[in-house]
Amino acid sequence: MKTPLILLVDDSKATRAIVAKMLGGYDCEILEAANGALGLEAARQGQPDLIVLDMTMPVMNGVEALRELQADEVLRKIPVIMLTANSNPEEMDQMKALGATDYITKTQKPRIILERAIALIGLQAKPGPVASAAPAFRADVTAGI
């Protein structure tokens, strides 16, 4: 069975590091990109199973990247979780209307990303202890999902 590939697109290296470490205890490969344009390129080359896409980024923001993804017959099939600092229900609806599978705000507990990833692509925990994460997330991860 193919190891799931997750593409993280966020201009914040810290946020990418947090999400990557959180996913580190799970059987998946991670690709990272620092803006929407690089994310699209990575998606075309890597054909990921899931894309976690930040909304506010330089060069190409998440909304533009989502539109490009949805315009591509192959890439539009990849589930996309929008990750954003904004917690606005209207934007949430707008993103879903544009084709996003889900929408997570950065002030929500990060384990929600894991829960959604597990639900969307059947992410499996690696055997043994879960890899360490940043202190804020260690408790969430080791709590077991």
């Binding site: 914040s12 290296k13 810290a14 470490k21 600092a85 606005n88 002030t107 990060p110």
Partner: protein, 165 residues
């Protein structure tokens, strides 16, 4: 201009945004303080700034000492405690915290049918920084502490009657 949240209490909004961000992203407990920030005059400060445009026109600034900014970076990126984070990483983390706090704050000021956008974060570093706002701008400053480390949130907004208390 009509705001969906009646009689918004800016202090409550900012307390909630800043405390939530530090709790969620860093597992750090912050306490609001009325005693003001006590920065040492020779200590470098790092400030993350994010603009909000739409239902409200404002800038949110988060300011900490460089020492605390490094501790925050180590905590957020899960680095070894003795690591010395690069200035780029510190900028990234402080900017991201300001961005997330502004995002949470922005939802308090939303106006139905009107888009409200955030700018990309900007970082300023220096000693004894003074911010002066232009005419028509209101400045609100809120101090928090994590142990002895001050965290200052400053909110500069164009005054609209009924929005800023």
């Amino acid at each position: 201009m009509k705001i969906t949240t009646p009689e918004p209490d800016l202090k409550l909004f900012i307390d909630d945004a800043v405390i939530t961000v530090f709790d969620t992203m860093l597992a750090m407990e912050l306490f609001p303080s009325d005693r003001g920030a006590r920065f040492k005059p020779d200590e470098t400060q790092v400030m993350g700034m994010v603009g909000v445009a739409g239902g409200v026109t404002a800038v949110l600034c988060l300011r900490v000492t460089r020492t605390f900014a490094c501790q925050i970076t180590i905590a957020m990126m899960g680095l070894e405690p003795e690591a010395v984070p690069s200035e780029g990483d510190v900028n990234d983390v402080i900017g991201e915290l300001a961005n997330i706090a502004a995002g949470k704050l922005k939802s308090c000021f939303r106006t139905p049918g009107r888009q409200c956008n955030l700018s990309l974060p900007t970082i300023v570093r220096g000693h004894s920084m003074d911010m002066e706002s232009m005419s028509g701008t209101e400045r609100h400053s809120f101090t928090f502490y994590h142990g002895d480390e001050p965290v200052v949130a400053e909110f500069y907004s164009l005054h609209h009657k009924g929005i800023v208390p």
